[in-house]
Symmetry: C2
Subunit: 230 residues, 2 copies
């Protein structure tokens, strides 16, 4: 398996490039519109054919690169089962497995940050947690039908029950970390450590965060598979 973590500085978003090195087929998780040319060039240099673009959820802080990549490469755009995106090529539901040669991608429905959010477990070792779980943090739950109680359940019942050595690759990072493990997050994530479900809901509902700068354009564009005038 080829596994590459890519970063968009403006939105602090991680995009993941995953490929079967023998088949030379690839997928991207959470591509960013402004980075499509970088990603296209990397695919070309590595001799990879892009088969799928997967979203962990409908993003509010950046516009997905899926629409443009679909135009350029003919890849399929895949979104979580409950995402209200009629233009997606395919939806993927909880525990469904997508395969790409020897690479397996298991969707794990992890609602809470939004009401339609998947984490993706790659080859049972690399967990792409999207905005459900960050390194020592988690996604906010105050818009897009977010629900702190559901996020608590998703993280504690579905992600924290994976083996401790599972690698955690988040959808965003703001302090310069790149990877963690489930064991580390269970032991050190201050959002969950020592907080029961009720405490977590109270804490999350009192964060009073400003809306993401790009929210007003990003959400409607992402509901159209990233279709904007570019």
């Amino acid at each position: 398996m080829l596994f590459r973590q890519l970063f968009d500085h403006e939105s602090s978003t991680y995009t993941y490039l995953i490929a079967d090195s023998t088949l030379k087929q690839a997928l991207l998780v959470d591509p960013v519109l402004e980075q499509v040319e970088r990603d296209r060039q990397l695919l070309q240099e590595l001799g990879l054919t892009l088969k799928y673009c997967l979203e962990t959820h409908i993003h509010a802080d950046h516009i997905t690169g899926t629409g443009k990549l679909r135009e350029i490469t003919g890849c399929l755009g895949i979104v979580p089962e409950n995402a209200q995106i009629s233009c997606a090529d395919r939806k993927i539901k909880d525990r469904e497995i997508l395969t790409l040669g020897e690479v397996t991608v298991e969707a794990i429905a992890t609602p809470g940050h939004t009401d339609s959010h998947n984490a993706y477990l790659i080859n049972k070792t690399h967990l792409l947690t999207g905005d459900a779980l960050f390194i020592r943090g988690c996604g906010r739950t105050d818009f897009q039908s977010g629900d702190a109680g559901r996020l608590y359940d998703s993280v504690t019942q579905k992600l924290f029950t994976l083996p401790d050595e599972t690698l955690v690759y988040p959808g965003h990072e703001y302090r310069g970390h790149s990877v963690s493990t489930i064991g580390e997050e269970k032991q050190h994530n201050p959002r969950f450590l020592g907080r029961n479900r009720t405490d977590f809901i109270t804490f999350m509902n009192n964060l009073n965060l400003p809306n993401p700068k790009k929210m007003m354009e990003a959400v409607p564009a992402n509901q159209m598979c990233g279709k904007v005038k570019y």
Copy 2:
């Protein structure tokens, strides 16, 4: 081996945390002063004792975290053999190997960006290239006794002769890449591809880059092992 890539957004610097997971002993390569608290916390959470801070070179774009980490942890500060840093605890020369349990760190003298620059090859698989080689780029050669011809020789004769599958972890990254390989850089690095030594020198000597913003404070501070008033 535990291997963590850490990023400082302000200076676009990668710091590397490497540890023997059994011994629980660690080293940092190119720590950044402003990130010392993040790094200290991570070491603590992972239960690691910091033994060494290694510099690839005397940085001009950020102040090293080594001085402060040395005060806090009692680690040793290690610099390349020819670096004019009298306060360093130890110098490491070309092909010298530092060991930390089952982790081996081989210094590879790679002057050119500065006149005293080491790359570090970890366990023969992970190459920390500092500012000699970036992903699809290389460090500048127009100050601190930089020399384009020497950099060309360092990269083409010492780094590009390593096995193609060697992982390339650079000292800086500006476009959001995290890792490459020697094979990839030989094939796709536009600074070296199709350029002989003379062409490379001409190209590098005509870049006309502005000085790094922090150069006037960073270089003297780093010559004092990162000692500043903090």
